[in-house]
């Protein structure tokens, strides 16, 4: 009985110290990762800002007139097709189903 109680207490202490130690290690790792992420996040933000500016509709329209001869055209929704797969067969159908009264 005595030994069992001691063994339980000892194992509890050991387990607690092991858990605490590993938690501390993980916390340190998380801190390090977070610290490394911070400058990357800032860099990503700057790159994304540049990307958003260069790919903004305004800029794209400007590039289109500057570098391409053909004009942009509106897409007729009635010409858009939908591709679906059924029983290993590819089915191409109209994206918008034609309405009877139209």
């Amino acid at each position: 009985m005595k030994k069992v109680v001691f063994a339980i207490i000892f194992s509890l202490i050991l387990a607690t110290s092991l858990v605490k130690n590993s938690t501390k290690e993980i916390e340190d790792k998380i801190f390090m990762v977070n610290e490394n992420i911070r400058p990357l996040k800032s860099e990503l933000g700057d790159v994304l800002l540049e990307y958003n500016y260069l790919s903004s509709p305004d800029k794209l329209t400007q590039y289109q007139t500057q570098y391409f001869e053909k004009n942009l055209i509106k897409i007729d929704i009635m010409k858009i097709k939908k591709i679906t797969e059924k029983n290993n067969h590819i089915i191409v159908s109209d994206f918008i189903e034609k309405i009877k009264d139209e």
């Binding site: 800002l49 903004s56 509709p57 305004d58």
Partner: protein, 559 residues
Amino acid sequence: MSDKNKVILEEYENKFSYKKSKTNLNIEFNRIAFIFFVFLIISAIYSIQLLHLGSLKIQNETKPLVTKKNYRADIVDRNGNYLVKTVSSIDIGINPAEVINKKKLLINLQLIFPNKNYKEISKKLEKNKYFYFKKKIIADDYEKIMMLGDKSVKSEEKLTRIYPQKNLFSHIIGQIDDENNGISGLEKSFDEKLKQIKEPLQLTVDTDIQFLIREELIKFHSIFRSKGSAVILMNVNNGEIISMVSYPDFDLNKRETVNDVNFINRATKGVYELGSVFKTFTVAAGLEEGLIETDTEFLNLKKKLKCGKNVISEYDKKIPSDLTVEQILIRSGNIGSVRIGQKLEIEKLKLFLEKIGVLKKIDFDIEEVGQPIPFKWGKCKLATVSFGHGITTTPLQLAKGYAIIANGGFEIKPSLIKKTLKDNQNKKRIIKKSVSKKINKILRKIVTTKEGTAEFANIKGYEVGGKTGTAEKAAVGGYTGKAKVNTFVSIFPTSKPKYVMLVLLDEPKTSEDYIYKYKNKNGSYKGTPFNTAGWTSVEVAGKIIQKIGPILATKYIEN
């Protein structure tokens, strides 16, 4: 030693007989129990602390962060594209009191910044008052100027907002002052939040759609030479505003003070008398109260009505005298609408308009919101309100009203801030589903039938429905006659409405050269014959839907 003493000692020895009992074992067991108890207490304290720390962490996550002085969160659109980005910049100032050798400092500065006016800087140095030498300095120049090692040169880290979409969201986003305080738009209404939140503030707007709508508005601004225009595109089911454009607008990057009234946000701040678009509400109120049905006939409708000083007449002189409720709305009959209004009486119509939120100031995400002009209800007021005159509201509130009618009668709150799915649940029905269905059908007929007033919005594949409204602008002592506000509120697709789009043209003029292409028949027409919504706003709406429709249909597809 006496015998007496001996006896006492023996007696004492006999009484003290602890050796025979299990005293030792008891002591040992108590000790173990005590140690165990101590450990139990320690572990209890430890676990309590762990639990406490755990709860603290959760609390911290929900607790707003402390406001940082030099911080402001970015703003992104619904797809995560930057609309506003904060970058830190450095301003360089000079404190003349700390300058040791003025001549030397000026020569050094001239080498780094040769294009500056050094006569003026020399004068400033004489004044002995701190001044900014250069704002928003670039990294290379900053390094060079700090290499001088002059104590009088001071650097200050400042916050700068960059707007990659320039004019596109000027009215929505608004501006900030030099002290990092929002002064208009979302920058003002979300000022505290923007200083606290870690992640960017996500809006409901779509940059691509906003751009396409603005492009069309600019094009038609020159065709119809309007004073200004506005478009609102909103999801009828959750109130998310996908696009909100008010033209003319301004480039936020220029940081100019905008005082011209013509630059107001017409979509939210502009308060207008919007005309026939209100007839939809009169009919919906009649259907809601069960006083009329879509096929209820109104016979012997007069061509003119007199109410006090006002004469109410029909715009369309060819309008028949006998009309059903559906025909009244399709042909936009004024007298028929008055008759429906009279059947409803003041209280019922007022209650309906209050329910859909067009009478009072709307609670919105930005502070630039107009206040509908209050008025006194009476017999004549009831008559004019029935066909949309003598009553004012903002375009945003009108779009909201149409969204409620279109979505099956559910209450919505227009919003610019992206919310979670949870926030959009718990819908409250305020109008009967049957009323919504009936109105949607009529709105579709306004676009598809030849009697309807919105043929140019009949774009194939989108099932557009809607109502036009042409109103003369009110002036002192009456109406101006020439200056008009032309509005078209559309919903699409009418079989299962998803979007409401409002197009408002402020004081448009007719165009002599614009070529209209008929949608319900072959052929085209050159020039604008009438300065009405049907020939102006509807055409703009049609062109916008043609452009944004494929994006809306494919990008926001619901599975």
